[in-house]
């Protein structure tokens, strides 16, 4: 079983990112469980989303406390909260940032990867300049780094699951996948 925790801010599409990833994984016959932080979401406030992936039915319905990997959709959260809380040794921290991984001071037991999903989202005109929607770009990088699914499954999941500008979102995901 693989458990991943997403960190974002309300309104960035963090929950949608985990849902798209779940859709892509399910297309390849995996069992998946994706859920948002159980609560009330507010625009701009830190939000969480979680995903469990397995090749057999998932019975554990409790929250994820020790994720294998974390994905940080908003880099300012690295300063605001401990994104490594409970993270397993050897786990990836995938951050949306234009800085290189060395910029972030994490203990060496974690692997850090950065992808400039914001730049990719702006380039493909997703969201606005002030509030770009980076979630689909992020999923492209996550799928590649963690070797979760084929790109084709992700593309299919985005086409089916994103009603607004699906093709631009697909392009953003592909670009992030290729850069990762």
């Amino acid at each position: 079983m693989i458990e991943i925790r997403f960190h974002g801010r309300g309104g960035q599409g963090t929950v949608v990112a985990s849902k798209i990833l779940a859709d892509a994984l399910a297309k390849e016959g995996n069992y998946v469980q994706a859920y948002p932080e159980f609560g009330v979401e507010r625009r701009g406030a830190p939000v969480f989303a979680f995903i469990r992936i397995d090749n057999k039915p998932i019975y554990d319905k409790s929250k994820i406390y020790n994720p294998d990997h974390v994905v940080v959709v908003d880099p300012t959260l690295v300063e605001a909260i401990d994104v490594t809380e409970g993270l397993k040794e050897g786990g990836y921290i995938i951050i949306n940032s234009n800085n290189p991984p060395e910029h972030f001071k994490f203990p060496p037991k974690f692997k850090v990867f950065t992808i400039d999903a914001t730049e990719i989202a702006v380039k493909h005109r997703l969201g606005t300049l002030a509030a770009p929607i980076v979630n689909t770009a992020i999923t492209g990088a996550v799928v590649k780094i963690l070797n979760l699914t084929r790109l084709e499954s992700l593309v299919e999941a985005i086409r089916e699951g994103i009603p607004i500008k699906p093709e631009d979102n697909v392009k953003a995901a592909i670009e992030a996948y290729e850069r990762a």
Partner: protein, 384 residues
Amino acid sequence: MKKVIMGNHALSYGAMLSRAQVIAAYPITPQTQVVELLSEMCADGTLNAKFIKVESEHSAMAACLGASLAGARTFTATSAQGLALMHEMLHWASGGRMPVVMGNINRAMAPGWSIWADQNDSLSERDTGWIQFYCSSNQEVLDTVIQAFKVSEKLMIPSMIILDAFALSHTYEVVEIPEQARVDQFLPPFNPPWRLTPADPHAFGGLTSPDHYMELRYKLQKDMEKVPALVEETGKEYEKLFGRYLGQVEEYLCADAELVFVTSGTAGYTARVAVDELRQKGIKAGNLRIKLFRPFPFEKVRAILSRVPKVAVLDRNISYGHHGIFYQEVKSALYGQPSSPLVFGFIAGLGGRDITRDSFQEIAEYTLSKNRAEEEIVWIGVKK
């Protein structure tokens, strides 16, 4: 077709595939998406049903009852305070023998204001004469809606399908969505033995003198007693078509167990993982998950638990001044049986506090180390 959907939408798809004809509902967190999707389906023609917007849950149920009396298959969904507001109408549904099917998202009752999982809302309606199913996965939610219509309409008793707030309502899982044609084969149109129609005028719900009232209640109870066998029979019929069996309870590794957890809802699935972990440590644990809670599955519970030395009942609810409600019910089912286990009662997870594998490890340690329950209630994860 396999689809990744949230628990709330599993209710919506269940109602859609059952071809519900009238849906009346009032939105409440964490139920909102159930009726959001159904109203979209009604608007775009996916579902040929009348969607009635109402100003309260009391009215939602009242509208469902009128439609049901007119012979329509009706569906609604609510949660917590909304269910409580419906309370009076719940008695009307069962007493009037109107087979409405309703989703209820288990949410804690206020105050303190909470939107998180807790069973006290649905268990407060235990004695209203509704069939109650507690679900543990989105697939089970969808499958239960379709089967509940069949059971309810056969016996003219309403059904409540219950799922935990967020832990199921907002959790996405892979769900096999059956083909409409096959569901139609399983669930024929609703054809009630009586209906309200201007063509054949009758009145319902009139004054019932002491000469007649008791017989109405006797008949309701006698029909309730038929539910367990009908749930089994309907489950087998469903299994033949769709390959999945519902049933009254789910038994997991109980046959040789020295300790069996009795669970329900999402905790009933987490318990299975805890059982696996305990077995790896050499402790023979098992899990009995109650799916059908009303009517209570006496025979199944007695048959499975009478051969077990120790039973630990987990409640995400409490009857203040007494015990956890599943604990009361399990003890009552086992009382006076020729052989009965030691039964321990645990309360955990009120107001959405997480119930984890570790909660079950704690429960197992307590149960295995005692020869009798030293406390009336053992609280798990409470800050005393």
